[in-house]
């Protein structure tokens, strides 16, 4: 690892000042579970590492029935998945965050870091996308909101400018008759990176026999987390039955653009898209019915 300076600002303002002054040679560190590895293999070589964990705004974790959930960019996963409101209203976030790394990784890693690292395999991003989450991004004097579905622009790249930082992720309040779910496939049972991941969000009609809307987002099958809009188009208004869900799986498979690598062949990944999409949609439906 190259020599690097370290700062730990305790206010958002001083953090943003640092970024406006030397954002191009600075990297932000939340849990550090991605960035420290990158520094070590020297795929990133910033002059300054700015620790974001002491910034109060980035540690917010709050829920409100009208406005939904606010996740500060530095909130560690273990806090998130242990939160009573998150457990109750956003089980899909629990699905995602309890499988990132293992217990010691979850003691440090953040959803903010997962999002800003922008890996195609990131386990929380598909869930955030299907839940309709937005990212609050701040630079000195400017705040902007970007839908998470538009946040990533390529493997490891995103819409953030060098003077900006992610402050919070905002997830809308859950609607009635709706639920979401995330699952991934890995060859091991823990400590592995998604070969394919699927987040699904399903909203049914009041009687529970028709889809009102369905969002499906896939991990590890394209340069960015993939939002499969074809599925929502197809399923909206349709009956809840195996045939339609089967077709949704097929659509996910067709939308995917995977590559072959050490985690799986393109062909295999496409196959999994369909298998996991069906399973995940069914799990979301089960969650609605179980509630």
């Amino acid at each position: 690892m190259k020599y690097v300076d370290y700062e730990r600002p305790t206010s958002l303002k001083s953090a943003l000042d640092i970024l406006s002054e030397k954002g191009d040679v600075t990297k932000i560190m939340a849990g550090g579970t991605d960035i420290l590895v990158k520094l070590r293999v020297r795929s990133e070589q910033p002059d300054l590492l700015m620790d974001s964990k002491e910034i109060p705004e980035l540690n917010e974790l709050s829920f409100n029935h009208d406005t939904g959930l606010t996740i500060g960019a530095a909130v560690p996963l273990y806090k998130l998945y242990a939160d009573a409101d998150v457990k109750k209203y956003y089980p899909a976030l629990v699905d995602s965050t309890t499988i990132i790394g293992g217990i010691p990784i979850q003691g440090r890693a953040t959803v903010g870091g997962n999002l800003c690292n922008s890996a195609p395999s990131a386990d929380s991003i598909p869930t955030l996308i299907v839940l309709g989450a937005t990212a609050s991004i701040q630079s000195s004097g400017k705040l902007r909101e970007v839908p998470v579905s538009e946040f990533c622009t390529g493997p490891g790249s995103n819409v953030l400018k060098s003077n900006e930082m992610l402050v919070t992720i905002n997830v809308p309040a859950p609607a009635d008759n709706s639920a979401a779910h995330y699952m991934r496939f890995i060859p091991r049972n823990e400590m592995d990176i998604a070969v394919v991941g699927v987040g699904s969000y399903v909203k049914l009609n009041a009687s529970g026999d028709k889809f009102e809307s369905v969002n499906v987002s896939l991990a590890s099958v394209a340069p960015t987390p993939l939002n499969v809009t074809e599925i929502s188009k197809f399923l909206s208004g349709k009956d809840v039955n195996d045939e339609n869900i089967e077709k949704a799986g097929q659509l996910a498979k067709e939308a995917s653009k995977p590559i072959s690598d050490m985690r799986g062949t393109a062909e295999y990944r496409q196959h999994l898209c369909s298998v996991l999409t069906k399973r995940s949609i069914n799990k979301s439906i089960e969650r609605i019915k179980g509630a």
Partner: protein
């Protein structure tokens, strides 16, 4: 659960005492290779090749030397020249620091020593190497093709023991023959054959290689490292650095796993050369990436097997061809693989061909029963296929053809007493096998495997303390509780409590030659040496008692920890009492034992695996697993079980997910513990163990080394279970989810 039927006849052997080094290891006090500290210590890093095959046109390290904090740089030019052209020393040196060519990604090129490891690492970037790229040869099929790029331009193939004039990538082709193979196949009612391929995998020890070297101005060299064998390291350092063994001391520190991979040395000579230039002790710890790319994994390659049987189940002919990757330098375990391939089965007509093949990958090293798993992946599947075709229970079929004492192995020697049949019987009677496996997509597979006990030299000495305890001095590094199992044998022989034996593992100047902790030999050979040293102590104590009592030496007997004399029933003294009087009766007593046993037996192991395949994702889940092994005599049953469970876990990982995943450019893509995917605690079931005890008559306590054979059967047992779960036969490793899905979709 362990089930040992034999009545207990020992006091210490067979019990489960705490290990002597245990407290230090659970408190963090034990000093492993990387923990070593010394005044003046500086840190080394190694520059490694990014290319699988290239000529080194030039190396320039001037800029590296200019970096503040850098103290020394070494390259192959700092190694002794090789005037007599000894090929094997040339290869050894070549693997330490590449001279004219780099032969694999990760091949060491230069070493840098600096005041801290970060500066040493930065200096690596400042070394300029000019390469001429050559095309890389990445697997045995490619390498055996005569049009492939030749890796060692000046070496020639050995065939049937003779040097030929053929310059290719085959280092050696050999053959073992017995009976008449053609006739054997003619007599068969059924012939099954198949070509089974495996890929390179790593031992995966958790502690990366770590070594510190100090080359003093008087020309003496001391190395502190984590190693499976300090004496072989000393010999190798002497060869590579061309200094006499008398100038070298190797001090073995605690070792964090080896499985064969810490038999060779890698960075020790580099640290030594850096220390010579710098004048300071130099410590080099490998990164995990270096461990994968630059140490010795076990080879991939293929095992082709053809077996003929009569309808009644009797095997009439067995033929095999094995070709294994040696890596960049000769020496794959194909020799051992070819001796194991049919070890379990009796048959008069056998033919085995082996090829040791050079490829642009790291030089392979031993890994738990080296070569045997690759071979068994073929044989045990063909055997399974035959038993399915004949409708005979797979255990019964193996029992019908199992070798017995006196049967010949393909290379000639007769099998000594062995426990194969008892292992098979225990498998059959095991709770798991007795239970029916129900449900779709589930299958049960079984397999057996063999590995030798290599014998080799061991030495121990024992000194008696006045309080009745003894110090046991040994040279075998303790990777899995061997201090305990060796001390237990000494205690048994001395008829004193286990707690009274204090073992120490010492450096190469302090005990007699002791070969590696490996080859399933430590509990056997070093235990044997400890027994001999204990006998020596006992005999000297008897003599001392006879002198003290003034009775004839041969009237003194030692039984149940008491010395007594036939000459006078009043005379009696405990070991402790006699020990307390040594000072005034002639001084202290030290016993010694050294051995180099030949004709040592081996160990058979079996696995039973129940698994379930998810037909949608191709993922296999192991539902139940039993490991069975002949331990001869289990000295410390817990550590025997531990070996069986650990070997099974490694076999399961090898079967299902582990592999060196190379891209088209000959670069390993998964050189991290995240992407290499060894089993985690969540990937394995409870591993049941059944210890079988058929004593090896060549050992005083009947010990058979159990370190290795246990990794052999899990792999084919899993393949056989997958066949029974899916109806498909798996010819390639790993049998990972993508492979399963593509197999299930075949012939749909």
């Amino acid at each position: 659960m362990t089930n040992i039927k034999e009545p207990k006849k020992y006091e210490v052997i067979g019990t489960r005492p705490l290990r002597p080094d245990g407290t230090d290891k659970v408190t963090g006090r034990a000093i492993y290779g990387g923990d070593f500290e010394m005044t003046g210590l500086i840190h080394g890093k190694i520059l490694r090749s990014p290319h699988p095959h290239a000529r080194i046109k030039s190396i320039n390290y001037d800029k590296a030397l200019e970096l503040e904090g850098v103290i020394a740089v070494v390259t192959a030019d700092d190694l002794p020249v090789n005037p007599d052209g000894n090929i094997s020393i040339g290869y050894s040196r070549g693997n330490i620091l590449a001279k004219d060519k780099v032969l694999y990604v990760g091949h060491a090129i230069a070493g840098v020593a600096a005041i801290d490891p970060h500066i040493a690492e930065e200096a690596l970037d400042l070394i300029e190497v000019d390469y001429e790229l050559l095309s890389a040869v990445m697997n045995v099929e490619e390498a055996m093709d005569s049009s492939s790029e030749i890796i060692h331009e000046n070496s020639f193939m050995k065939e049937f023991g003779e040097m030929t004039v053929t310059n290719n990538n085959i280092d050696e082709h050999f053959q073992h023959k017995m009976g008449n193979i053609d006739k054997g196949f003619e007599n068969a009612d059924l012939i099954v054959e198949g070509k089974y391929s495996t890929v390179m995998v790593h031992q995966g020890y958790i502690e990366p290689q770590a070594a510190t070297a100090l080359w003093r101005t008087d020309g003496s060299l001391t190395v502190w490292n984590s190693t499976q064998g300090s004496f072989p390291d000393r010999d190798e350092l002497s060869n590579i650095l061309d200094i006499p063994i008398s100038k070298i001391k190797v001090v073995p520190l605690e070792i964090g796993g080896g499985f064969g991979g810490k038999i060779p040395i890698y960075q020790e000579p580099v640290a030594a050369l850096l220390s010579k230039k710098a004048g300071n002790p130099v410590k080099i710890i490998m990164s995990r990436k270096e461990v994968f790319e630059s140490t010795g994994p076990t080879p991939g390659g293929y095992t082709w097997v053809k077996i003929g049987v009569k309808n009644d189940g009797k095997i009439t002919a067995m033929q095999s061809e094995l070709a294994f990757e040696a890596g960049a330098y000769p020496g794959s375990p194909v020799g051992m693989g070819s001796l194991c391939v049919f070890a379990a089965y009796k048959c008069d007509n056998q033919l085995v061909d082996g090829y040791d093949v050079i490829v642009n990958k790291p030089k392979t090293a031993a890994y738990r029963a080296p070569g045997s798993p690759n071979a068994a992946f073929g044989t045990e599947q063909v055997i399974d296929e035959i038993s399915q075709k004949l409708g005979i229970d797979p255990i019964d079929f193996r029992m019908m053809n199992a070798i017995s004492e006196g049967d010949r192995r393909v290379d000639g020697p007769k099998f000594p007493v062995n426990g194969l049949k008892q292992v098979l019987e225990s498998m059959k009677n095991s709770p798991q096998y007795q239970k029916k496996l129900k449900g779709s997509n589930k299958g049960r597979g079984i397999a057996v495997g063999y590995w030798f006990n290599v014998g080799l030299q061991s030495s121990c000495s024992i000194t008696v303390n006045t309080d009745g305890t003894v110090n046991l001095i040994e040279g075998s590094t303790d990777i899995g509780g061997s201090r305990a199992s060796i001390a237990m044998q000494a205690a048994e022989t001395l008829q004193i409590p286990y707690d009274s034996v204090n073992p120490s593992i010492v450096d190469t100047n302090t005990v007699g030659y002791t070969a590696v902790t490996g080859g399933s030999r430590t509990t056997f050979s070093t235990g044997y040496a400890a027994h001999l040293a204990a006998e020596d102590v006992r005999d000297q104590m008897i003599k001392r008692a006879s002198e003290m009592w003034g009775v004839p030496n041969d009237s003194v007997v030692y039984s149940k920890g008491q010395f007594s004399s036939d000459a006078d029933p009043e005379l009696s003294m405990s070991f402790k009492e006699l020990a307390s009087q040594l000072e005034n009766t002639g001084g202290s007593i030290a016993g010694k034992g050294s051995i180099n046993p030949k004709k040592v037996g081996g160990s058979f192991a079996g696995s039973i695996c129940d698994l379930e395949i998810d037909p949608d994702t191709g993922k296999s889940t192991i539902l139940d697993f039993t490991a069975i092994q002949d331990a001869g005599k289990a000295i410390h049953p817990s550590y025997v079980e531990g070996q069986m469970q650990g070997g099974s876990a490694q076999g399961i990982g090898w079967a299902l997910n582990e592999e060196y995943f190379y891209d088209q450019n000959g670069i390993m893509n998964n050189s991290s513990l995240l992407d290499y995917r060894m089993p985690t605690s969540l990937d394995l079931p409870d591993i049941n163990t059944i210890i079988v005890e058929v004593p090896d008559p060549t050992h005083p306590y009947g010990v058979r080394g159990v370190g290795e054979a246990n990794i052999v059967p899990p792999i084919p047992a899993i393949a056989n279970a997958m066949k029974r779960a899916s109806g498909k036969r798996f010819y390639n490793l790993p049998m990972n989810p993508p492979a399963v899905i593509s197999k299930l979709n075949q012939d749909l």
